[in-house]
């Protein structure tokens, strides 16, 4: 393992030095290579998408207005990309008088990504994290296909695009795959026992469209991981968003959105029947030059059996996060976020998280990521356990 760590360190150090050399910033993953553009065309602080990148994604990974000039995967450079990160992480768990620490250098996962245009109105995206057995130097990773979807875009107009397969659904207004922080959005993670995080990728079908500052999405997906394969698509959702001013509300324009989600899930243990749950969310992404404020409020109402609760009523909870980011230069971005979830009254489990940090880009595709985060669980059953995470890592995409 020591040899491996040295090898990885040498690799990343070499990459850093090469990235720092004078010259054009390396054109990186699939799309950047295809178009000969730098990552910052589509990302304001990779991996976060900017407005241009958002339009590109919404248009089925085709440059808006240039659809007729698009090259297919067969006419483009190999449509594969890699993303990984390596660095030092220190974690401390504290529960009353007890405390444990874990720290060290390690590889924080590896994603293999493939994407491209198959035909004039058809494209695809696949993200595959290969299986990595956990060890001291490598974070364990399950080898499953995280996303694989086919997008049928611009079917007659920009108002009709269809995405099918396993994808990142549009109801989560802020992508957890492309956000700035290592730590997750708590309100997206919050779920009844065995339930999937709100931001989890889903299998199903999604219809989207946009134009004149308005965007919508609606979908039918398989839903909770506790469901049986023969339960079929059990969840439905819809989202509408409006942007005021030029932009898509990513880093320009002011975006507000509402989301409604209705699903059915089997409780983890207990009665063996589908129970209903619903989510309602309001989100906003406000931009002033290099400053972005992203905020999400989410309300959940679940049938009590999903929580194993014996209360008379449904279980309700709500939460929000507000994330402020500032990108004074293309090479760096700073962020701070506050997460809060007020858990079901009968169960407790309120969560708060405070996160701060920054990213410095040696090159478009190589960032030094620094982050500190403290999570507190306000639980009736214990002494408000806390989790602290501090990490310094290199985030690398190729």
């Amino acid at each position: 393992m020591k040899t491996l760590r040295i090898a990885v360190l040498v690799t990343l150090a070499t990459a850093t030095l090469l990235a720092l050399r004078p010259g054009p910033a390396g054109a990186v993953p699939v799309f950047a290579r295809k178009y000969g553009l730098n990552c910052t065309n589509c990302h304001s602080g990779f991996p976060r998408l900017n407005d241009w990148g958002q339009r590109f994604r919404a248009n089925g990974y085709r440059l808006p207005g240039r659809e007729n000039e698009e090259k297919t995967v067969l006419e483009s450079p190999p449509p594969f990309a890699l993303r990984t990160s390596y660095g030092y992480t220190h974690e401390r768990f504290e529960n009353g008088a007890e405390g444990t620490n874990a720290s060290g250098f390690r590889v924080h996962g590896l994603d293999v990504l493939s994407a491209g245009v198959i035909a004039p109105h058809v494209s695809y995206l696949m993200v595959y994290p290969p299986q990595l057995a956990g060890s001291r130097g490598v974070q364990e990773q399950e080898g499953t296909i995280e996303m694989v979807s086919v997008v049928f875009s611009g079917l007659g107009s920009p108002w009709l695009n269809v995405r099918a397969g396993r994808f990142e659904p549009a109801y989560a207004a802020f992508s957890v795959k492309r956000h700035l922080t290592v730590t997750p959005y708590e309100v997206y993670e919050y779920a009844f026992p065995g339930g999937s995080p709100f931001s989890e990728t889903q299998e199903g079908l999604e219809v989207t469209g946009s134009g004149r500052g308005f965007a919508y999405a609606a979908g039918l997906v398989n839903g909770s991981a506790t469901n049986r394969p023969d339960d079929g698509p059990s969840d439905a959702y819809a989202r509408a968003a409006m942007v005021i001013g030029a932009g898509e509300g990513q880093t320009a324009g002011q975006r507000v959105g509402v989301t409604g989600y209705f699903g059915r899930a089997r409780p983890e243990g207990g009665i063996d029947a589908l129970q209903t749950y619903s989510r309602f969310g309001v989100d906003a992404s406000l931009n002033l030059k290099q400053v972005n404020l992203a905020a999400q409020w989410l309300y959940g109402q679940d049938q009590k059996a999903l929580w194993g609760s014996e209360t008379a009523d449904d279980v309700c909870w709500s939460g929000f996060f507000a994330e402020l980011s500032w990108q004074p230069l293309v090479e760096c971005v700073a962020f701070a976020r506050y997460d809060m979830v007020e858990g079901p009254e009968a169960i407790g489990q309120d969560v708060t998280r405070l996160t701060g940090g920054g990213r410095y880009y040696f090159a478009d595709n190589l960032a030094l990521h620094l982050e500190y985060s403290r999570r507190t669980l306000d639980s009736a059953a214990s002494d408000d356990p806390t989790e602290d995470l501090a990490t310094a890592r290199l985030d690398f995409g190729f």
Partner: protein
């Protein structure tokens, strides 16, 4: 067992990719490479005598109705083969509606004029002559006038084997314009390995040009133009905006679209945009930073850029690094008027 192999494999892949990147195998796609030789149409090969004739015609005001305007009036070598007025003034003080594009490196553009109405330099060369606002002459009359000048008549016979005609005028001027080519710019020298050719600000600007500034999707290629047409909103908030390419194509989707100009030598050719509405490169960048002027046909790629002051200055530095060495061309001596030509044109 799998874990033991996965990490070394990852390290190997990363080393391989890093090396491939450093050697350029998978490296930066240099869309904006050096200028290749200017294309020459098979029916108008370059000859020295034709180029000399074209140069005389280019600088000769006798091609205009009142003998006051030549090609060089609006495309002056002293001002980057363009003109520093927002829009140009033709015969009898008439003011045109568009900014004069530079002739410098125009041979690398597939079509000519802001709206692309001329498919070749030959076609472009005749346009201003019979444009009533610009040179205001009829083609028939200019042929008659030039045939009355012995020096021109002799040269046309030597070059084309005929007296002066419109086809010969177009071909000669176009042949001359194909010699108006800039030499290597600091950017080209940097590409060739002269690492000191560009300042650190220009290098940062280059990365912005290909990245956050989102310039290269339209200003890609050796001439820094995609040779396409785009509506970037310029003047679209006016009561009667210039319809641009739509006038030529009759396609409403082309409303407000104009040809992407090349950016080589742009530091010499202020003011900018098709209406000359932006005085400096910094002004142009500020315009793009705002995301253009909203209109139904605004290019979907036009979005606010959120550039900082330093980033704007870096982009200007890069654009200035696209100024190449200038062709050493001075106005030639013009053939003297024949007896019948003395005293006027019509």
């Amino acid at each position: 067992m799998k874990g033991r192999w996965a990490a070394p494999l990852l390290a190997t892949v990363l080393v391989g990719l890093t090396l491939a990147w450093s050697t350029g195998a998978l490296g930066q796609f240099l869309a904006n490479g050096p200028l290749p030789p200017a294309p020459v149409p098979p029916d108008n090969p370059q000859t020295d005598t034709k180029v000399r004739l074209g140069a005389q015609l280019y600088f000769d005001t006798r091609l205009s109705a009142d003998n006051t305007i030549s090609c060089a009036t609006c495309h002056d070598p002293k001002t980057g083969w363009a003109n520093h007025n927002p829009t140009d003034t033709g015969i009898r003080g008439q003011v045109g509606g568009r900014n004069s594009g530079t002739i410098l490196d125009a041979a690398h553009m597939r079509v000519q004029f802001w709206d692309g109405r001329a498919a070749s330099l030959e076609e472009q060369a005749l346009g201003p002559i019979h444009n009533p606002i610009e040179m205001g002459e009829t083609l028939e009359n200019v042929v008659r006038k030039l045939n009355a000048i012995p020096g021109y008549k002799a040269q046309f016979n030597a070059v084309f084997g005929t007296d002066v005609n419109t086809d010969g005028i177009a071909k000669a001027i176009a042949a001359f314009e194909r010699t108006v080519i800039s030499g290597p710019a600091p950017y080209d020298r940097w590409l060739a390995g002269e690492k000191s050719a560009m300042t650190s600000a220009a290098l940062r600007g280059m990365n912005l040009f290909n990245g956050k500034g989102r310039c290269s999707p339209c200003h890609g290629g050796p001439a820094f133009s995609d040779q396409g047409y785009h509506n970037i909103g310029v003047g679209m908030d006016r009561k009667n905006p210039d319809l641009g390419r739509e006038v030529v194509s009759k396609d409403p989707r082309d409303r407000g679209r104009f040809k992407t100009p090349g950016l080589r030598n742009c530091a010499l050719t202020h003011p900018y945009l098709h209406d000359g509405s932006e005085k400096t490169l910094a002004d142009v960048i500020a315009y793009y930073d705002r995301g253009g002027i909203a209109n139904p046909n605004l290019d979907p790629l036009m979005l606010p850029l959120n550039l900082t002051l330093r980033e704007k200055a870096d982009l200007v530095a890069f654009l200035e690094a696209l100024t190449g060495t200038q062709p050493n061309i001075t106005p030639p001596a013009l053939p003297e008027a024949g007896a019948a030509q003395e005293g006027g044109s019509r």
